[in-house]
């Protein structure tokens, strides 16, 4: 080992010789390295002097560390920090409460909105139905079964839906004009109403001024009854199913 190799090791040897904390401060150095450096210093006057200086320095630093080991921050410093800690934790609790309150309010608003949307959707469907019946009583049945199955928003009674389900084959309906159910009734004064699909004997057509082919009197035909809000029938039209194939 030469003087250059020895230099750092002498510092470590001087530091390790003192305070217990410095023992672990030598890091990866082996005890054998330190002993080799000390052996070298014993035979080299320059390194011996260097070691003495390092030891003296370490002793001086240890003295300083010991002199100030009891120095602590003032009690005021701790009190200030404790107050800051309490304030911070307090504001955190406050913030947490605020977040809970806002979340609750948002959840409540959401529930109200969803409820309102459901209510409106139900009412609008009723309104559409009555509106549709009002403005287009004559064309209500001019829809094909295929358009019904494609989800068009045309209101239909349960009977109509059942009928649609039964008539899975592509067919089209032909309808007559609405005829007043009671002779002389004014259909234009009707504000709203509902269509009800019914089945009536073909002979009933005659009572509404329609002709029935010979031999068909015993048959049953479909009809749409326009019923007012008070439940009284106002008008009727007759429906005939025409299969797609027969039309083609």
């Amino acid at each position: 080992m030469n003087c250059r190799d020895c230099e750092l090791l002498l510092m470590e040897a001087a530091r390790a010789g003192g305070a217990s904390g410095a023992q672990g401060a030598t890091g990866p150095l082996q005890r054998s390295d330190l002993e080799a450096a000390l052996d070298h210093a014993a035979s080299c006057p320059a390194c011996f002097e260097r070691l003495a200086e390092e030891r003296s320095l370490s002793a001086g630093l240890r003295l300083l560390a010991a002199a100030e080991a009891s120095r602590e921050p003032s009690p005021g410093c701790g009190a200030t920090l404790l107050a800051a800690y309490r304030a911070e934790r307090g504001s955190e609790v406050h913030t947490r409460r605020w977040v809970f309150a806002v979340s609750g309010a948002l959840a409540a608003s959401l529930i109200v909105l969803v409820g309102a949307a459901l209510l409106l959707s139900h009412e609008s469907s009723t309104l559409v139905r009555s509106f549709y019946s009002k403005i287009s009583p004559l064309s209500a049945r001019n829809r094909t079964a295929s358009s019904a199955s494609s989800g068009a928003a045309v209101p239909a009674t349960a009977e109509e839906q059942a009928s649609d389900a039964d008539n899975a084959a592509p067919e089209q309906e032909e309808v007559t004009d609405f005829v007043a159910y009671y002779p002389g009734a004014d259909l234009s004064s009707l504000d709203s109403g509902a269509l009800v699909r019914v089945r009536v004997p073909a002979s009933a057509l005659e009572s509404f001024g329609l002709q029935v082919a010979q031999g068909n009197e015993e048959e049953w035909v479909s009809a749409d009854l326009l019923v007012a809000e008070d439940g009284s029938p106002q008008a009727i039209r007759f429906v005939r199913s025409v299969s797609q194939s027969s039309r083609n």
């Binding site: 750092l8 530091r15 401060a25 890091g27 370490s58 300083l64 100030e68 921050p73 410093c77 934790r89």
Partner: protein
């Protein structure tokens, strides 16, 4: 019970709102942080300020400490180091060190280490030696001073100190070596200066007139 807990465990409890854990954590670590800042700056006011700032950071943002990377102690040393360097850069008024035990008029008023068995002269010499080492440490450039303070005065391991200073252990070791060299050179120079002054002050009767004796 909190006294037996590690600083890391205490921090977890304090972050969850346990005030007693925060008190215990402060009791365990505040002295180290305060003394580090005091050794670095030589100013008690600044050291207290740095201690406050360091713990305030811990109060406001305890999540900044990542347990897997280093001990809480060396993490806090790193935080304190940054505050100290910033304050030292900002205010040069902290460089002259007001020696403990000496008031502004330069009069001794309270011994730092009071050893009843030691005689007054011995005590005086020891205090003077401490003051010389302190001045020499404060005269080091900050990059070497922090290495000496952490490794030799605070007795951190190389790994802990390197983490606090955000450098490699090898870099820290060479900074420490260089710092100690500069420290030794400065102490040698003051020793020679003191010896020269003492020789000049030898009166005809042969008694050495110590520069500080006039205050005792």
């Amino acid at each position: 019970m909190n006294q037996d807990r590690t600083p890391e465990a205490l921090l977890r409890l304090a972050a969850a709102g346990d005030e007693e854990a925060f008190r215990a954590l402060y009791r365990q670590l505040s002295g180290f942080i305060y003394r580090f800042a005091l050794h670095m700056s030589g100013n008690e006011g600044l050291a207290e300020e740095v201690t406050q700032e360091t713990f305030l950071m811990l109060i406001r943002d305890p999540g900044r400490y990542e347990p897997g990377r280093a001990t809480l102690k060396s993490f806090l040393y790193g935080v304190a180091r940054n505050h100290t360097l910033r304050a030292l850069e900002k205010e040069s008024r902290f460089i002259p060190f007001a020696e403990p035990g000496v008031d502004e008029a330069g009069k001794l008023h309270a011994p730092e280490i009071c050893d009843p068995s030691a005689d007054a002269n011995e005590d005086l010499l020891r205090r003077e030696q401490i003051a010389r080492v302190r001045r020499a440490v404060l005269a080091l450039p900050p990059v070497y001073r922090e290495a000496v303070v952490l490794c030799d005065l605070q007795e951190l391991s190389y790994d802990e100190a390197a983490h606090s200073l955000a450098c490699a252990p090898g870099t820290l070791r060479s900074r420490l070596h260089r710092g100690r060299e500069m420290l030794a050179a400065r102490l040698r120079a003051t020793e020679h200066h003191k010896a020269g002054a003492a020789a000049a002050a030898v009166p005809l009767g042969g008694a050495i007139c110590h520069p500080r004796e006039e205050f005792s």
